[in-house]
Point group: C3
Chain length 356, copies 3
Amino acid sequence: MSFPRWLVALGAIGLIWTVTGSSTYTEQVVTSIAPVAAAAQPTSGGGQDLGDGTKLATWQMVNGRKEFRLTVAPTPWEIKPGVVRQAYAINGTVPGPVIRVNEGDKLRILVKNDMPEDTAMHWHGMVLPNDQDGVPLLTQPLIEPGQTYTYEWTAVSTGSHWYHSHMHGEQEGRGVYGSLEIVPRIGEIAADRDYRIMVGDGALGFVINGKSFPATAPLRARVGERVRFRLIGTGPEMTHPMHLHGGFFEVVAQDGMRRAFPERMDTLLVGVGQTFDIIFTPTVPGKWMMHCHIFSHSETHEGMSGLVSILYVDPPAVSLPDLSQLPPAVPGLPQLPLPTIPLPGLPLLGEHGNHK
Amino acid sequence: MSFPRWLVALGAIGLIWTVTGSSTYTEQVVTSIAPVAAAAQPTSGGGQDLGDGTKLATWQMVNGRKEFRLTVAPTPWEIKPGVVRQAYAINGTVPGPVIRVNEGDKLRILVKNDMPEDTAMHWHGMVLPNDQDGVPLLTQPLIEPGQTYTYEWTAVSTGSHWYHSHMHGEQEGRGVYGSLEIVPRIGEIAADRDYRIMVGDGALGFVINGKSFPATAPLRARVGERVRFRLIGTGPEMTHPMHLHGGFFEVVAQDGMRRAFPERMDTLLVGVGQTFDIIFTPTVPGKWMMHCHIFSHSETHEGMSGLVSILYVDPPAVSLPDLSQLPPAVPGLPQLPLPTIPLPGLPLLGEHGNHK
Amino acid sequence: MSFPRWLVALGAIGLIWTVTGSSTYTEQVVTSIAPVAAAAQPTSGGGQDLGDGTKLATWQMVNGRKEFRLTVAPTPWEIKPGVVRQAYAINGTVPGPVIRVNEGDKLRILVKNDMPEDTAMHWHGMVLPNDQDGVPLLTQPLIEPGQTYTYEWTAVSTGSHWYHSHMHGEQEGRGVYGSLEIVPRIGEIAADRDYRIMVGDGALGFVINGKSFPATAPLRARVGERVRFRLIGTGPEMTHPMHLHGGFFEVVAQDGMRRAFPERMDTLLVGVGQTFDIIFTPTVPGKWMMHCHIFSHSETHEGMSGLVSILYVDPPAVSLPDLSQLPPAVPGLPQLPLPTIPLPGLPLLGEHGNHK
């Protein structure tokens, strides 16, 4: 839900007026509302580790645009200890760096092709000029080996999207993709944690964020937190039913667009090209898996492998009262047993043994 | 949303009463409402080209029923220039002609089998008598080579459906299917354009409306129009994540049933047997692709191929004011930059070069 | 939707007070509300045939817990007459018995491994202590051949779920799974019939509830009844577009969670690990198929086979008035023909011949 800017502005005025207790409304408005001071704009940014095996793309402000530089090149890539595959990495990593900007930012993205084959880059989910759409031979010429191509567009399509090579699926399968996140001015999805789960099934094998379990990045959260996962089906070939252990999640957005009515589930079909924002609020500490439920993608005779991530859930940072000991609400009424909410410290935990 | 007939009738009465300014309500009703004159019913119809590579089935009125004749026969079928496959065409085309009728129409459909093998025709999504359901050996005998079988039923299941052979998937894969559209009396989905996207993955290869890109029919629209696509998964084998460039669409109906809350997305899983009605309102002129995002279905090392359609979007027929130049709403409040809506004529277009 | 217990209690008090007409509220509450007499709890149960090829698991109460015993063992399993495959059956059947308990029940489940390989059992969709989650080497040791492992947890995750082996998919494909149904205290989905459709695509072939058509259990219903299907994708490999003939159904829950807005459709993608509760209200008698619409999973050149169930729909148990003969609502208004609802006895039936 978003509000018109003038309504937000009026709300701010009202708030200030209330707080200052002014008795002369008109005067107060005039004197208390100074033009919003423009915060000093940083001239560069990015590079942070996002805790899920990805990191932010770096940028610098050049002539009013955030400028990103992506170089795609053949790179040996270790998907798990001892298993190295030939990738096409972007700036040395699979996936490429996370491009994360604000709604309204003007962007310039320079794509340098150091692969031995042609390419083009598509900004999936973006509303932009047709000649910036990145479809070779349809909306632009091929980017040939050694060439650099410049894309310029303004970020107006908010939410979780992605960018990827728009050549045959082999390039995608070797890693030519990354997360593309346009933070909305109003209405960002509230979350305590923010993790990407980019699912791949090409020449690198079954990988999440470029890694195969047990090399996938360990994710962390606490009981009671809102954990946001950005699921992205990078393909290039399969639909994956992604399953979460330990409860259910809510699907709050699809392809960057907020859902009017978030549905709850524990398994979600993620097809090639789709993105989903889901929110999981863990209620029980432990090691909870997120994995593809097609077991040939996630398990072998030697245990879990491939499309598996583990969310390590710690106890909550605050303690909660034990609601099961409340006295009866009405004298004379029997106290029905409460459904035992499995929070740490409550009786359900430690029932079986080693987990107390 | 639909209204009871009596409510519509009362609304009509009220409208007439208001317009005529009658002061005697009861009398006016009686005198102004004559029985609706039955429009002269046409006795035949169909045959129009629908602009998407399909055309309407022809019919003639026989004893109070719209009578359609479908002949299924082996036919060499060119899926793209120079590539001919052996199809089972209906009345000479793949897909078969679009059967489009009104809610309440009584139908008679004669299916002649000129294939060298048995068949039966299923009216997918229809509520009808069980013996008209078209499942061979379960609800009817086989239609043997050379035989003609007659189906009779009344169209009560509104929306976008399809018909297809209900023998093993090979017949479907060779083209024995078509769109089946029951126009509702009230509540039709409003649209400026109406295109079918029937996705096939059988013996004819990866085809949309029987053709493989670049032979798929070029689709046309203008900025600001509501473009309706009827997506139909004809299979016989695969689920296709259909992706639209240039923005997002709304899913307004599934299997002919209106969605209570249309969700917005840019990629939609279309499984075998499913139909979806989606609405796309383009905001930027250009060549925007609709394609399966599994690239082995839609792209080769030589460029796009297979499950690809292009929507050619022209500038709008009306011009819109440039909202970015509005003065500040509240004196003293700074004017935040509006998100740049990429409409033609606004600054976003032509940023990069050849597309102005 | 659920209400706090105290609100329900107050409602009950108010109801009693109103009925008895007491003028002294406080006194009345005290005297009229006796503690709810605890119904005599049964000490064992289960074993009933559910009419869909499955039966309830048996249990007995042991130290305040419902105790179930599951033994997994190699078993020759006839998927259809004359076709026997090597299964891993639970208590001798594929699928294993249906574990059906109440919200709040404390469970103990003893899993005995009589297979020649390791295993572990996962309670899919349950909120429970991490060490009861059944992921070998992550949350528990392997259950080696000959060993028995004990799981203890409390049923708090209501709705339709399932249990299954969490080893590589081969065990799942051979039958190590069953339905897991937690009946909620408030808000159970109302239905006249309750059938399971567990879809498998592993070493046993394409099976519904362990059987391949025509050996799948014949399902029965009457026109006008609410028929609940619990669709469960047991995999281990594929997504199946499950299609229903004869009308549409409503998706009322996913993975056990109620949908805020049930959508209507006739074909639903069921991926591995997903469960859906759907409601179908047949309007026409006859033999209506539920089948996977990928025909290589459900049909051969010799007719339907594999992932096919038939719902035999009988006429309604009550008769309905013929609404098409109502007189015009407003004198002078023409009577538009009603859409012909295909109920038995109305004109639509018997149009074509053998089904009257």
